[in-house]
């Protein structure tokens, strides 16, 4: 059971995230896809740390700090989405074009 099998999982997760990000039209659903992408990157850091550099802890701590940053990013993104919803009455990305022209 090598490093490749773990990387296959994170690749599937990354591709699902990219598919969802391009496919969804709803801002909240796009945010969910971004969570998937970030999670795949986190798995990669932990796995590389464990299998290739087991005596160091860089990947472990990078993942730890990345989880903290993702939490902050999600909170801000949801605040922005709620604020946009209050003004536009919709989460549809096609309808958020007030500043376009």
């Amino acid at each position: 059971m090598g490093v490749e099998l773990y990387l296959v999982i994170s690749t599937i997760m990354l591709c699902a995230g990219i598919y969802g990000f391009l496919m969804r039209k709803n801002t909240l659903a796009m945010l969910i896809s971004v969570e998937l992408i970030l999670n795949a990157a986190d798995i990669n850091f932990a796995v590389f740390n464990k299998f290739l550099f087991p005596n160091q802890l860089e990947g472990h701590f990078f993942t730890l700090f990345a989880i903290g940053i993702v939490a902050a990013e999600t909170a801000i993104a949801i605040a922005i989405i709620i604020n946009v919803y209050r003004n536009v009455q919709s989460l549809d990305v096609d309808k958020i074009d007030k500043m376009k022209h």
């Binding site: 099998l5 599937i12 969570e35 999670n39 986190d42 796995v47 700090f65 939490a71 999600t74």
Partner: protein, 171 residues
């Protein structure tokens, strides 16, 4: 490859994560999408536990399952999130997306299986990373110690609280 308990658990977790991450982006109801995302995040925590990073798995469950998913569920309840979920089924719109994902994924798989990784550590007996090691590395100021990013994350979270309040307040 001998069938040890760890391999069996790994295969179960791998199938669990793969199925639910695909379901997250293909389901029609956003509430179900968030529930499947929760399952994916718990599966990720299980992978961290398998690797011996129990602290990381606990943080993953606390921050994601306890914080991020609850925030997402709240904002779904507060908005009409279920309308216009997908971009539509027009072949002109869906085909480029599918091509991007399939070609990109195929390329990553090709790189993974043709690349010669460094000699790997033994995976037979993965031992838990002790809390003492993590504590000394997290709040020490020397080489390979991480007090500076730790403090920077603190400032970032403070800025995040203030920013969130500023953005979401009523005018």
């Amino acid at each position: 490859m001998d069938i040890s308990l760890q391999n069996v658990v790994f295969i179960i977790v791998a199938i669990f994560i793969s199925v639910f991450s695909v379901l997250t982006v293909t389901t029609k109801k956003i509430m179900r999408s968030v529930t499947y995302l929760l399952f994916v995040l718990l599966g990720t925590a299980a992978i961290y536990f398998l690797l011996g990073y129990t602290f990381l798995g606990a943080v993953q469950i606390m921050v994601y399952a306890g914080g991020v998913v609850v925030l997402l569920v709240f904002s779904i309840f507060l908005t009409k999130a279920d309308e216009n979920l997908n971009i539509g089924t027009k072949i002109k719109k869906v085909l480029p997306i599918l091509l991007t994902v399939l070609i990109g994924g195929g390329l990553i798989f090709f790189i993974i299986f043709t690349h010669n990784f460094l000699p790997m550590a033994s995976t037979d007996a993965i031992e838990e990373l002790s809390m003492k090691t993590i504590g000394f590395a997290l709040v020490g100021g020397g080489k390979n110690q991480y007090i500076l990013p730790f403090e920077a994350i603190g400032v970032l979270l403070l800025a995040c609280i203030v920013g969130g309040l500023l953005i979401a307040r009523k005018r």
